[in-house]
Symmetry: C2
Subunit: 332 residues, 2 copies
């Protein structure tokens, strides 16, 4: 069996996560047992939700266990299979973890057609982040033509898709992103009608100008001060999908709602969600995203860390917004 390499969670962060929270391991790859497959991971996904799993506190996913391989999605190629549905060479996506090889039950994996879409897209625009965007929009925000939909982390893996799907519904899409380069990309490549730099000193003023008719739907990935600015612009019957609060994950900036009266006065609906719990939405979301991507109608950008060893630093950078588009690790 080939030599496997990967990262385990060595310790839980105290405040901000550091590289010392991860430990590299090397060991012989496990032989697949009955009903299992051996996958060579080619691409690894880095996602903000992983930070929550590193803490001990109650979260929406099980905690990442100490000294176990860091969990996460990968795409790769089947090397050996003890399951009738998979054969060597099949391209698959599944919970491969932060490692070069995964030996696990076949039921956790699904085959993907990478003939028209790059394999790694199944970790981004046509994978979990894309499905997250689809569900937040179609099941919580329900954008209508002419309405204004705001999305934070507009060029992130989720925000990239939110803007394009909102535009396809005829809505005005307004992004929030960190820095002029990301804002430029959001408007020129992703089709956002406007994008406001949350690092700008006059962010609130700029945001107001970008949302002259107020905000009907808010897809929140970040939290912090920009969230409060956006909330103050909500229109009557506005919907707020709380998808992520990455600004608060490291304990530095708590995201609060300073005055609940806005929920009542504007009759707002706010919902925190995790995409995997919308079981019946997975299939239609995936089909729509794959179809859009295959026809070239869905755009995205990737930040690629080259090699497994780069995973911790790339992950920590992503938590600070250093990535531009979907953060991936290229494993081979």
């Amino acid at each position: 069996m080939p030599l496997n390499k990967g990262f385990v969670l060595a310790s839980r962060p105290k405040g901000a996560a550091t590289e010392s929270n991860f430990r590299l391991f090397e060991k012989e790859t496990d032989q697949p047992g009955p009903g299992q497959i051996l996958v060579r991971n080619l691409w690894m996904s880095l996602d903000p939700y992983m930070r929550g799993r590193m803490d001990e506190g109650r979260s929406y996913t099980a905690n990442q266990a100490l000294d176990q391989v860091m969990g996460g999605a990968t795409t790769g190629e089947v090397v050996a299979s003890n399951d009738a549905n998979f054969k060597p060479g099949d391209k698959v996506v599944g919970p491969g973890g932060w490692q070069l090889y995964s030996t696990s039950d076949a039921k956790f994996w699904r085959k993907v057609d990478a003939s028209k879409i790059p394999l790694q897209a199944f970790l981004g625009a046509t994978g979990m982040p894309g499905v997250t965007a689809w569900i937040g929009l179609n099941r919580i925000i329900h954008p209508k033509a002419g309405q204004t939909i705001v999305c934070s982390a507009a060029t992130g893996a989720v925000g990239t898709v939110v803007g394009q799907l909102a535009k396809a519904k005829g809505a005005r899409a307004v992004g929030i992103a960190g820095g002029p380069d990301k804002c430029k990309f959001a408007v020129e490549e992703l089709g956002y009608d406007a994008c406001v730099d949350h690092k700008a000193a006059d962010f609130a003023e700029q945001f107001k100008r970008a949302t002259p008719d107020g905000v009907d739907g808010l897809f929140e990935n970040v939290g912090g001060q920009p969230f409060q600015v956006a909330m103050a612009r909500m229109n009557d019957f506005g919907r707020i999908a709380i998808c992520g609060l990455i600004a608060s994950y490291e304990g530095a900036e708590t995201t609060s709602l300073p005055d609940m009266r806005i929920m009542l006065v504007r009759r707002l609906t706010m919902q925190g969600f995790i995409q995997s719990e919308f079981r019946d939405a997975q299939q239609p979301a995936m089909e729509e995203l794959v179809s859009l991507a295959a026809s070239g109608k869905l755009k995205w950008r990737e930040t690629i860390a080259d090699g497994l060893e780069k995973a911790p630093s790339a992950f920590l950078g992503m938590l600070k917004g250093k990535n531009f588009g979907k953060q991936l690790v290229k494993l081979a």
Copy 2:
């Protein structure tokens, strides 16, 4: 025409409302024009939403205009009618305002059958407050058997009905109220399984003991610190109906949500609502409440201010929680 008496809004409150914000008037009652009816108001409703209308800020209802009769619901008797659907002697409920006689379009009024239910109940348990309870529960909270539903201002006009409807669904109903007398009434008369006094020094501890399985639905009428305590006990997929935030209406105590992460981590849904906007719910809600009340299955308590002149002081007392049950003014 008889002499009419009533109150207009004399000035907008700066901070807490005072009696000087209201001014008594006396003038001859207007003759009903074509399509209008003249109603002698017998009972007048005092409701927390009226405080919001006294301010200039954006709220969910139109502002109360200065020097105009204070708006509000009344029940009474038709004295003269220029509409085929009404005749003198009919018992009616409508937007009569803070005055003894109302001359207005017949379309604003509806006839009620006060043969089995006291007339003033159409301002409380079988009126707007009861419908508010019904909508918050059935359209937002969706209580299921065995779940824990919490309601603040548990003995108020709305909370009175929330507890009884939640119990009818097989839920555990836990009230929050101000003082041991109200808590005793909530449990012994209204059927709440438990009621916690928010004035108690160890409120948070008591609340925890009263909700051993956490909170699945929160019907929020008050806000403030008890709201935060209840929010911290929310279970996964909990629903929060924001019906009122009376603790914040006078500007004394802002109701905040200090850490939004709970919305995400527990996948909560929170909705601010106003009952009148659920048009299709009015009929079923009213029918159910009238039927329960007529058969003696719906209980309530009233605090009655005797005479129009008492309206301002009774209203200000209600904002401080001095009422016990539905606050009414008996006009005749």
